[in-house]
């Protein structure tokens, strides 16, 4: 039984980053962006929405791939 190791406490900025970069909410946001993009792609109301649908889906998909590597 040696002396207890000191517990490493993360610094303030690290803790804030960890709290902000959690996978769950970011994945939900990416999912919503993809769903909005798919709606824009297939809606019958307004052509400009269709025009910008692909970039929306692409953004959501890339975001999903990136944020799925964030910690839980």
């Amino acid at each position: 039984m040696g002396a207890a190791e000191p517990i490493a406490v993360p610094s303030g900025s690290k803790r804030t980053r960890r709290r902000l970069l959690r996978r769950g909410p970011w994945e939900n946001a990416a999912t919503v962006i993809i769903a909005v993009g798919v709606f824009m792609l297939m809606q019958p109301f307004w052509l400009p929405l269709f025009t910008y649908s692909f970039i929306t889906i692409l953004t959501g998909t890339i975001m999903f791939i990136v944020v799925s590597h964030f910690p839980d």
Partner: protein, 322 residues
């Protein structure tokens, strides 16, 4: 009991070892476990790269060019994002995606309602429920080409059974309407056939969800004097919902890519009222030979399916965690 087997395996290993040429055996002996593992999976990886990844990268490249596959001697010109710009401002493409949306929304709604209803009935474990499960699952096991072909006969206005069935129920003369030839009815004709074919799939997944609910939850609800209606909304539906979501996502992705069944039934007609996105893509690529343009359209559809598949994987993980 296992000793003779062990000795047989040892004998086989010794025979293989003696048959291996000495230089090769010496080289393999020097390899680490990790290297041997890579050696075994490398043929699969090479095959995967050649069959899946290379065509994808090649299509991405072609989508930025004016390449036409029927004029292979014409120099390929890099035109940047112009193909994407054309696809995303083309009202014909927009129309095909609306047709796809109509097909997708109605097939999913009907399949969920009917599939869940059938699963709920089959789960009642009545006499002969096993036989009925098999009968209901039959359409799902058929090839789309076969289904498309025989539904074309069923929809014939003169001899088709479907028209006679509608006539029997409604009193309308059977030859007075054409399911495939009519502009208003054709989109519904493809919805009916897809629903007939794929409702059993939704039913099967819902049935798995229903069977996974333990009886003691219902017993506890009975003790608390919860009505059947309350039990359905508070126990059955929430516990089946992840399974149902999974089935809907999977079928949505499949129906977004739907090609064979609709080509066999209507070939996209009459006019273009049943021309789904993938049928239009095939026409652009192999009838009009606009390879660069159709590659851009294919990439747009691919990214859409990939995005939807990401949601699918997320839903799958949630089901696994339960």
């Amino acid at each position: 009991m296992s000793e003779p087997q062990d000795s047989a395996a040892d004998k086989l290993a010794a025979r293989v070892a003696s048959a291996t040429p000495e230089p090769l055996a010496r080289r393999v002996r020097g390899l680490s476990d990790r290297a041997i593992a890579w050696l075994f999976i490398s043929p699969t990886i090479v095959l995967l790269l050649a069959i899946n990844i290379f065509p994808l990268i090649w299509t991405i490249y072609l989508s930025f060019t004016n390449y036409k596959a029927n004029r292979i001697n014409r120099p390929i010109e890099f035109i940047g994002l112009r193909n994407y710009e054309r696809v995303l401002t083309d009202t014909d493409i927009w129309h095909t995606l609306q047709v796809t949306a109509h097909f997708l929304c109605w097939t999913m709604t009907l399949q969920v309602v009917l599939g869940f209803g059938l699963a709920w009935l089959i789960n009642k474990q009545f006499k002969g429920h096993g036989l009925w499960t098999t009968v209901i699952l039959l359409p799902m096991m058929l090839s789309p080409a076969v289904v498309g072909n025989f539904w074309t006969f069923l929809y014939q206005p003169q001899i088709g059974l479907f028209n006679y069935a509608v006539s029997f129920v409604t009193g309308i003369p059977p030859s007075s309407f054409q399911m495939i030839g009519d502009v208003n009815l054709a989109p519904w004709a493809i919805v009916i056939v897809d629903t007939w074919m794929w409702t059993p799939y939704i039913m099967l997944i819902c049935l798995a969800g229903l069977r996974s609910i333990p009886d003691y939850i219902y017993e506890a609800a009975e003790v608390d004097r919860a009505s059947k209606w309350r039990q359905f909304w508070s126990i059955t539906l929430p516990m089946v919902l992840p399974f149902l979501m999974l089935a809907v996502l999977f079928r949505s992705i499949e129906n977004f890519k739907m090609f064979d069944l609709v080509v066999e039934l209507t070939s996209g007609g009459p006019g273009s009222v049943t021309e789904l996105a993938s049928i239009n893509l095939k026409r652009e690529a192999f009838e009009k030979w606009r390879t660069g343009y159709s590659s851009a359209f294919a990439i747009i559809l691919f990214v859409t399916v990939f995005g939807a598949a990401s949601i699918y994987v997320k839903a799958l993980n949630k089901v696994k965690q339960r």
